[in-house]
Symmetry: C2
Subunit: 333 residues, 2 copies
Amino acid sequence: MKKIAVDAMGGDFAPQSVVGGVEKARNKYPDLRFMLFGDEQKIRKILTSDKNIEIIQTTEVIDMNDEPVKAIRRKKDSSLVRAAYAVKEGKADALFSCGNTGALLAAGLLIVGRIKGIARPGLLSTLPVLAKEGGAFNLLDSGANADNKPEQLYQYALLGKYYAESVRNIKNPRIGLLNNGTEPHKGSKLTLEAHNLIAANSSINFVGNVESKDILKGVCDVVVADGFTGNAVLKAIEGTAGTAMHLLKDTIMSAGLLGKIGGLLLKPSIMKIRNKMSASQYGGAVLLGAKAPVVKAHGASDAETVYYTVKQINDMLENDMLSKFTDYFNKNV
Amino acid sequence: MKKIAVDAMGGDFAPQSVVGGVEKARNKYPDLRFMLFGDEQKIRKILTSDKNIEIIQTTEVIDMNDEPVKAIRRKKDSSLVRAAYAVKEGKADALFSCGNTGALLAAGLLIVGRIKGIARPGLLSTLPVLAKEGGAFNLLDSGANADNKPEQLYQYALLGKYYAESVRNIKNPRIGLLNNGTEPHKGSKLTLEAHNLIAANSSINFVGNVESKDILKGVCDVVVADGFTGNAVLKAIEGTAGTAMHLLKDTIMSAGLLGKIGGLLLKPSIMKIRNKMSASQYGGAVLLGAKAPVVKAHGASDAETVYYTVKQINDMLENDMLSKFTDYFNKNV
């Protein structure tokens, strides 16, 4: 029986979407327990049944404009900080929020804490491989760090491997290193050193360097990057996909009558593309290297996304991903 | 009267597309002169008139698989190396190739040479702002360097400013620094220092940090980045846009009859999007900081793209961009 500590107040549509998604997940996964941290009155208004759900009253909320580290130090009775302490104190096995990303990362690093041997936990984000039905790739670090060292990229290769095995259900996942060329001699000082470290570990199915133009095509299952570049690439992909969809919509809208009819006839196909481009079914971003799963779903998450994110957390807990991490890093670091 | 040294043998469709584009440009710009380096017999077969065009016979070609620095050292009679020497020796004012990018960069750095005071020339690429008719932004360094220092990013801000003024015809262009957040306190060690350097120069219209998800929306005219991140973002944008267009096409093709009719009716609109996403009208990528314009058009360039790239070179020469660079860096470095 595993328990998830949920920040019920984080996100644009909280607590509605959070509570709705948690209830859906509760009905699906009878072995899970939930601790909902937040405004009890508001939560109770939405909650249809408190089966397997415990509500913990908190009085503060960390919002999107709060400075992360300050916020988790000062807002001691916020839903996020209280949820993080529940994990730290062993009352819960995972931390989940749709709120302020920086604050969640800070709570993960400073309250939940790091696995021994892991200097800089990395944020893993899962994105769809557009070319392949149901395909996806996992990018880390997608933004927890602004500066990384080669050894940290090496650890991301291992963390990503165990994640892909546990959650994405991929045997011997293909690990690629994000680089400015595919040839082994290409790269920055950082990627050249990281390349050698990763290549030297035969337990890693290392496919070598990968370029950002190819990762959407599914050249590997896990893309290892420093947090600065990973963040830039993630946002470039999201920005371009979003802009392309907008452009398509605007172009149809401003087309003549025939174009509009065409748009109408194509609507089911366009909706299919939009769904394919949406990453919500893969859950949220995970801070890998923390002592427990620390998971961030998008601020605009609806109940459906919250549900998928709980599913993702359940996969990590059920497959005991954390023990795999700690076993490996206790033995090898 | 300005002269452009052209590698007539570089590119997937060389020399056809190169010669075709040069002839079109020659007809449009009567003050330009061209030196075409390559296989004279092949060039003469395509050339309709040698007005303002001189052909220089060369016997070697650097292809896409050649290792750049080795190639320019060994293939002394290649069309690229000979063209670069023409610029170095003052016989031509700019260097143009659709061939091996690395070899062109190496020729630019090692043969044409750097402007005094500029340690690491940067590659500038122009991309369309999809949200705005005719809008574009200029990204540098988009891949000439794998590791950059803060002072180099500061120089890119200045080089980009003069480029945008001379070629894109923008008064007081808005300069942004690519970063992992827009707040001034955000960033890597590199971007935090670069931010301070750029912000301290009041001649730069610095709009601060910009994120990769926003640059396609036109938040600034020049995006300054280190070459590793700039390259990753450029390729992520190109990869995502390309994949999205493919996906749209595939989805229409596999749709039912009504969907196919819809696709047919929408074809003009989709072609419009494709044209908007195409960067060919903005010319090629320019190695800024070299002693003369060193310009790379896409390997798959057709005559039209070659024509636009010559137009771009003409803008740099006519507006005397290089003197602006040298004046500034001779005074201030």
